[in-house]
Amino acid sequence: MNIIVAMRQLADLVEELEVDSSGTDIDREFVKFVSNEWDEAALEEALCLKEAYGGTVTVVGIEEVDFHQTLHAALAKGADRAVELTGDFEGWIPTRQRAAALAWFIRECDFDLVLTGVQAADDLNGQLAGAIGAMLGVAHASVVTNISVEGSEAHITQELGGGVTSVSRARLPLVLGVQSARQAPRYVPISRIRQVMAEATIEKVPVTGESFGNTPQVLRLYAPEASGTATMLEGKPKEVASAIYDVLVAKGVAGSRKGN
């Protein structure tokens, strides 16, 4: 089983996101970047598959701020190979461009599965799995929550929404957008990551001029207007709790206070 996992970093949603002076991208200078959480699920599933069936896990992504952190952590968790695609990658990279670079690299590899996160929060231009699949001419599926393999076949579980799932038999190779792994992503101590940083190498592979076709042109990026529907409850915890409790009582979902 040779598995390729496409991963990336992305602005941490917990941070305040500012729009830069162009008005069409976030200010990438000050924002904190983290691994895309769904890519982490894809990596976890890949590592579980490797543990079950043997083989290799190659992690690949394009050169972006802090991407080495993702690669080092992946190696520390058990990935065999870490590849960074270098080239003309700046700012907000359309999914089609990302997919073209990844497909160019993957095409030359011997692989059974390509796994990546089901989505990323800045996927203005579509999700990776479908784009890579179409570019490689390999069947793909999204929102995958389980993968098992028997010989040249896999069983994949897709969520269809509302708790309904669908299990398909499929022929390898496949490109899958992973929603969640069979278990929560494993933890790896910082000391282990440090050790990997000192010992392991990241292969750098230059990508040149892959054409990627039409993508949307961003005219304006902005925070949605505060629609102002929420009444913000101010005060000390005791006061806010009391205001909330009053709402619960008014809606008839909690008993009135003792003594009332």
């Binding site: 996927d123 203005l124 479908g130 599926a141 929404g161 708790g163 409850l233 909690a254």
Partner: protein, 322 residues
Amino acid sequence: MSGPNNGVMVVLEATAGRLSDVSLELISLGKDVANSLGGPLVGVLIGASDVALTAVGCDIVDCYVDFGTIGYSSEMAVTALSARVEAIRPRLLLAPTGTLGLDLCSALSVAFDATLASYVVGLSVDAGRIQATSQLYGGKLLADCDLGDGFAIACVVPGSAVALQLGVGDVEVSNHSLDAIVGSLAIEPGIRHEPEASGVDIVAAELLVSVGRGIGASANLEVVQELADALGVPMSASRPVIDQGWLPKPHQVGKSGKKVKPKVYLSFGISGAPEHLEGMRQSEVIIACNTDPNAPIFKVAHYGTTLDLFDLVPELVELVEG
């Protein structure tokens, strides 16, 4: 291949013998764009053909009837839709954000070199160019973008438009078979599994105490559980809490979990990503506790507080316990 005409194509889904809510929303959005472009609105329905007649607003509905009966395959969906796009050459294709939309949109955009926008919440036409507004970064930012004057695809977030009223109208229906496609698939049609029945019924509850990733760790759940117990109501949760294994799947609210409409939805440490809002925005009253004043949950909440949940919840427990 000829260039696109001025038509709009919408991908429709049938669930439980009727068109899904998001299908009706897509028809409503698609109709507006089709009117601006001066082209027809074509529905492509995946499911039972009797439902096709209810796709009022569409001029034609192409049905893949066997989809509903033989099970779902992403590859089958892509192949079937590609054939319809090839035949009709629409200017714009609308699909719902969800498994079907994610399976279709990127692949079709590559196959037809279409300009694709995801997480779309609004569409307009300006001097023949299609413009879309997309909701990004978990709902924290919006992007207005130009999809050009060629074939465009918009993957639309459920809840972005008012659904067109159901009725039976003048809809031309034509049926298509999947027989030719099914035999050669690498991904076979799947076997459908309904969600497991469980003891907890978060849908029936009039009050839900809901918890998100802001809880930080499994051990901290106790704090909120105590409140739910004191109120005598079930605890519900966002997806990360379920994926971490901190609460079982039947507790999940959202796109891939349950849709709930309690009298009061009391949330702690939930950011309000579109997939979560899809499951709870119809609650009568939403109260949100989140330390980030810019959290998208406050856009739908009726009452909000930026207090730390660990400061607030114990006070609430004290009040409820009297």
